[in-house]
Symmetry: C2
Subunit: 249 residues, 2 copies
């Protein structure tokens, strides 16, 4: 059983690494960006190509959602299995005569950040039992946490992840913008941030809420609004409004 | 040197514990809520009162910002030192003939969650050098991370903390609302959330951003908007708008 990864971005490079580290026979990384492909190929000692897609049993398309459809047309092998790694798109976005599937790793991938692949939940959807079993077998080599998921459910998993990860990271960026503007080292906030996350391992987030909005501390809320402008002020108002709604304040 | 803590909420209970654990002579916890005071007093083996405020060298007012002014009037001792623990209010909010100060712990406190006090940054402001030194001495017994901070700077530290902690926790609440609505266990998202935070210990948050907004993935953004309503939709739009602005998309 031989697999190919298509793509050279964050997801592709981590999936390639996870496969190679766990003995999955990755025979090629394929894509457009030869510089990025070369880095992956050299690190993992795997062939790469920008021109000739290798013949494989399973193709993993690890490119941005906007490109999946176009990229999927490059695969001409009819008796192969193709999986995309999108949280939001159905497996039917893939265009070809091969068998279609989805192989969604619930994690945030940045190239320069090492990951413990064992803990990443993988969500799998396939056309038939045999393909599902094959994808489970591969995912189980990488992770301890492999599940089946319909497209309908996967959409909501991805949406939840956007709130719990992408938007959270953006709040960190905005927080750093504020502290940078006053020459306050962002490192001061790391113990607070770590504790914010540790807390929800033990307490429901709704019960862990602290801060001026949940106390309906009008004086502080007004003071803060005076210190903010533009998108930061919009975020401040939107989040406080939502907190007040949640706690019926 | 004897100290009293006024208050029985999250901050008061953790401050009392941090003081007792580190050998600071806490002679009383004082407040209105006898039930909560009793819990703190029994756990730490410290006297409590709802009526007679003990005579002490330093009083720590650990109550919500809205109540600090009123509570400060209860302290009639003229040669004492009084500190509030608010991130946003000036020390001059305190009303009395005593010396005024601020003693701000940068952390999120929930009663049921144990904390490593050593890592909490404390920000101190006082009227004179002697008081500053005294408060540093106390804070240094609790934490490895004690600094001076003007009110002006402290306001921005608190504001940054609201973005990095309070709003982040609310995003976790909203994320859980979405996953609960589809009967998806919120535990699935904990490795993702942990990694989101581990990442910013190594990478600037601005460089760690992932997700559909920073990829300007219009198809996914539209799909997600269709799945959301009310405050969740407002947050979705506000955050995506801010992400696009930050990355000039």
């Amino acid at each position: 059983m031989q697999v190919v990864i298509i793509g050279s971005g964050n997801v592709a490079s981590h999936m390639a690494k996870a496969f190679v580290l766990n003995g999955i026979p990755l025979i090629q990384v394929f894509g457009r960006n030869s510089e990025e492909l070369k880095k992956i190929a050299e690190e993992l000692n795997v062939p790469y190509s920008t021109e000739h897609l290798a013949e494989a049993d399973v193709y993993f398309i690890c490119v941005s959602d906007n490109s999946i459809e176009d990229v999927s047309k490059l695969i001409t092998k009819k008796d192969g299995l193709v999986a995309h790694t999108s949280g939001s798109l159905p497996k039917e976005i893939l265009v070809g005569e091969y068998r279609k599937s989805s192989f969604y790793p619930l994690q945030t991938f940045s190239k320069s950040k090492a990951l413990d692949y064992k803990k990443i939940p993988f969500f799998i959807e396939a056309e038939n039992e045999a393909d599902k079993e094959l994808l489970f077998e591969l995912a189980n080599k990488v992770s301890e946490n492999v599940m089946e998921s319909s497209h309908e459910k996967r959409k909501y998993i991805h949406l939840t992840a956007v709130f719990a990860c992408n938007f959270v990271n953006h709040l960190f960026s905005k927080a750093k913008e504020i502290s940078d503007s006053q020459k306050i080292p962002f490192d001061y906030f790391l113990p607070l941030i770590d504790e914010t996350v540790q807390k929800i391992h033990e307490i429901e987030p709704k019960l862990a809420q602290t801060g001026p909005a949940v106390r309906n501390d009008v004086r502080v809320l007004q003071l803060h609004e005076q210190l903010l402008k533009d998108e930061s002020l919009e975020i401040y108002k939107t989040m406080n409004h939502s907190i007040k709604k949640m706690y019926e304040l």
